[in-house]
Amino acid sequence: MDKIRFATVWLAGCSGCHMSFLDLDELLFDLADAVEVVYSPVGSDIKTYPENVDICLVEGAVANEENLELALKVRRNTKFVVSFGDCAVLGNVPTLRNVLHGPDPVLRRCYVELSDYGGQIPNAPGIVPKLLDKVQPLHYYIDVDLYLPGCPPSADRIRDAIFPLLRGEKPVMEGREMLKFG
Amino acid sequence: MATKTLEKPTSQQQEKDKRFKILDVVIKKNHCRQDALIEVLHKAQSTFGYLEDDVLLYIARQLKLPPSEVFGVATFYHLFSLKPAGAHSCVICLGTACYVKDSPRLLEELAVSFNLHPGETTPDGKVSLMTARCIGACGLAPAAIFDGKVCGKQTPESVRTQVQNWLEE
């Protein structure tokens, strides 16, 4: 049998969910036995999101055009998308900028007002992706098959969510252990 | 959040300001009853033009109500305003009959011509624009109220002309 084509994606998040993923520790060996990691900031060097992915964990909210493009691609190329962690599920910390009304005040605050001297807003075309008007959770833009909340989700929670998936079962997302936000 | 003064208005201030006396009349007429709060706020609104903090505080003291309650009630009802209004008022009715007869276009016209939106007053303080849920003049839709006078069958042009005339006063 072919191995499950497995990916993880990192959008607007702190990478904490990926760190927690790595906390699976020795279970990573079991995972490695079951899957082929085809795309992941922590498990693969491939730079473009491939086709025919079976399962993808998406960390982070959608904050800029690059995030959005990748999210749409993930959906197109993936059978089962997991919204991975509070930023993907709820928007969480990245959405704090939304109350500032659009990207311009955010960039000004960040790069001009808070700079020690000579602040300027980075604008190199093709390098700095354009910020979207509002940061949104992943499911605002694409259909999501499973929500895995937590900031970050604990390694145990990740285990209890993804190992059933590998067996082709839907994990039971119930109770404090599996659902608590934060 | 603006800091607010909490001193009781001194007797001198009150003497200066006869308007507090007008308020006192209504309060006395209602025997300082707390259920008269809305009546008193109506009077305050018409006497002072809007409900300033010191007015609200004065009412709270006279009716022996917590300031939080007075503020809560004053901000619940559309007709009470915490901000001063313009010299002239234009109210566009957005009742259903007016709506199906295109009253939103009247608002669009004012937004385009004068950059005036509901709830706003022109920078020169001359005209305030408000909307009403329904003024009951549905037979004459779309309707507007110019300085208290109900005018039926309005068009974007007629509304613009009226506001223009006020601005040129």
Binding site: L96, L148, G175, F181 | K4, P66, G72
Partner: protein, 238 residues
């Protein structure tokens, strides 16, 4: 005192006449989620989480304000109720700016608990991202309106138990907001006794004690119940 008997989720319950369905359910060990309800202050029936179905009625009833009656058959966990409760919690999350990750009450929050209880894993509704402020003018406490769910427990506890009337709801609808005094900074409201009851009453991390950081704010809403009972029964120890 007369007693009525009723069935809640097919369990027979006997309780004093005049009690509410919620009281009866709690006595029978049946859990109905609540947010605006707080033992010790008057119920307002506003959060709608405690809605139940009653046999013979085509409406849903808020169990915190509906009195029991003889022979009543109550259902607290039908599929419809479960779905509605979940949607209500989702609506709350979409309404404010609830970011558990760095909230003082993370892990000790009734909103978070209710979300778990109803099985909410995300919200289907669009976030509103309202612009709300934080008031830190009080020397001991703070209020973060981003986390407020307008349950009015602070308003009621301050008015009904402390008698200080610091809080009220101002404005209306989507703009409704908890205010202190004349919409002043909390620290400037002279009637505040700094008793801290609102802090204990607040179900979320909206009202908190200064100096606590993420997940450190423990709340004791049962303290309000204790105060209320103590007054009624002259039993001043817990």
């Amino acid at each position: 005192m007369s007693v009525v008997t009723l069935k809640i989720d097919n369990v027979d319950v006997a309780i004093e006449a005049g009690s509410t369905i919620l009281q009866a359910a709690r006595e029978a060990g049946i859990k109905i989620p609540t947010l605006c309800y707080l033992e010790g202050v008057s119920p307002v029936g506003a959060c709608r989480l405690c809605l139940v179905e009653i046999k013979g009625s085509d409406r849903l009833h808020a169990s915190c304000v509906t009195p029991v009656s003889e022979g009543m058959e109550v259902f607290t966990q039908t599929e419809k109720l479960k779905e509605y409760r979940k949607m209500l919690v989702e609506l709350l999350f979409a309404e404010g700016n609830h970011i558990c990750a760095f909230c003082v009450s993370n892990g000790n929050c009734e909103l978070q608990d209710v979300a778990i209880e109803v099985g909410m894993d995300h919200t289907r509704f669009n976030y509103r991202f309202p612009e709300r402020d934080v008031d830190l003018s009080h020397p001991l406490f703070g209020i973060d309106h981003n986390r407020c769910i307008l349950c009015t427990r602070c308003v009621r506890v301050c008015a009904e138990i402390e008698g200080a009337h610091v809080w009220n709801v101002a404005f209306r609808g989507a703009a409704a907001k908890i205010i202190s005094g004349l919409n002043q900074p909390w620290g400037e409201v002279s009637s505040c006794t700094s008793c801290g009851k609102c802090v204990e009453a607040c179900p979320t991390g909206s009202i908190f004690r200064k100096g606590v950081t993420t997940a450190e704010m423990k709340k004791h809403p049962d303290y309000i119940e204790f105060l209320h009972t103590a007054r009624e029964e002259h039993q001043w120890t817990r």
